[in-house]
Point group: C2
Chain length 196, copies 2
DNA sequence: TGAAAAATTAACCATTTGGTTAAATCATTT
DNA sequence: AAATGATTTAACCAAATGGTTAATTTTTCA
């Protein structure tokens, strides 16, 4: 493992746990087991290190599942496929949604918003939606509202995970189990909402 | 306006915008137009000031709409009423969900999790759910999953507001308009999901 | 092998930050 | 008005933080 990789791995953890403001360069250095000066040697500044991590992580959260989506013909199929794929990612990186949301929610972070890769929304979601709706294959719902709902339902348990786990006393395994059940539950909801 | 009120008002804004770590005591003092020492005179420390704000704001986000809910007989009615009431609160305090989520998501904040008033979930949500489900008035969905979905659909647009506004170039008025439309959209979704 | 380049370290620095303090001002009561 | 207590201020402080630097070690390669 190179020093650069050690730094990135450590920075990911610290930034995800503590956020940009809460993260300390020394803490990253400690976790990476390197001298603090190396952080600046490789990434110049805290801002640049953070941006590196953010850009990388955002690619994971807005994945390139567009290609695979083409296989699924109807809009409803696409949505169900999305839920399934997305929960694999979320289960793997449960802190990602909060990391992205909290970065984007800070003032003067318009800069990071532009970095969000959202093309696939127009390309696969909207296009397919209107096509199927014109054919009467899905109900007259507002596609934008539906997209927000789909994202919200998917992502919210992960945003609220610490609260959920804290309140219900469930283990990490319990949570994963709940999220696995959730895939088919959300697919059912989507079908109920969309099927005319 | 007393000094204490000035402080609270200023602290609310700064903490909501910047989070605990990002907030500066000096910034709060400046916004309140008072001397920084007053903050400690009235609230002792940054932690105690923050806690004061958090506890207060959390009461707003988990409102006492339980009483009014009794009027609504069926579970579906209750859910629709909840959506309507909740969006009034969210439109008024759009940054609250992020504030609470981001506080709770930080390590070592188990302490704040205990402060979340969630009794009304068991009291009004679960109880009514099982009652109506036993009578076959609602579909066989998992109440916990449904609650998570309902919260997620409701709250997510506000969590993602900066990104949404940034990407779509919509104005604040556009956003509010979208959220107003959203009330009936979500009520429709809830009915479609729950009605057998 | 040996010199140049890259990587690493320890010590250091300027600034910021939450918090304190002692003195000053204002309000209240007698 | 004088004494008392509450409120407010400016100056200050120690600790922490992001960042730098000069020297040292390791790697590269002619």
């Amino acid at each position: 493992m190179t020093t650069e990789e050690k730094i990135i791995t450590a920075a990911e953890q610290i930034f995800m746990e503590q956020g940009f403001d809460g993260a300390r360069m020394q803490a990253i250095a400690d976790k990476a087991e390197i001298n603090k000066a190396m952080l600046h040697y490789y990434f110049r500044s805290k801002d640049m290190l953070f941006e590196k991590i953010f850009v990388e992580k955002v690619k994971v959260l807005f994945p390139a599942i567009g290609e695979q989506m083409k296989q699924h013909l109807s809009f409803i199929d696409k949505v169900c496929f999305f839920i399934e794929q997305y929960y694999q990612i979320l289960n793997k990186y449960p802190f990602l949604p909060f990391f992205v949301i909290s970065t984007v929610n800070k003032k003067d972070n318009q800069h990071f918003i532009q970095k969000l890769p959202i093309d696939f929304f127009k390309e696969f979601f909207l296009e397919s939606f209107f096509q199927d709706q014109a054919q009467g294959k899905i109900r007259q719902v507002n596609p934008f509202q539906f997209a927000l709902s789909l994202m919200g339902m998917s992502v919210f348990p992960f945003l609220a995970k610490p609260a959920l786990v804290g309140i219900t006393q469930m283990s990490d395994g319990d949570f994963t189990e709940l999220m696995n059940q959730r895939v088919v539950e959300l697919q059912t909801y989507a079908k109920l909402i969309l099927t005319p």
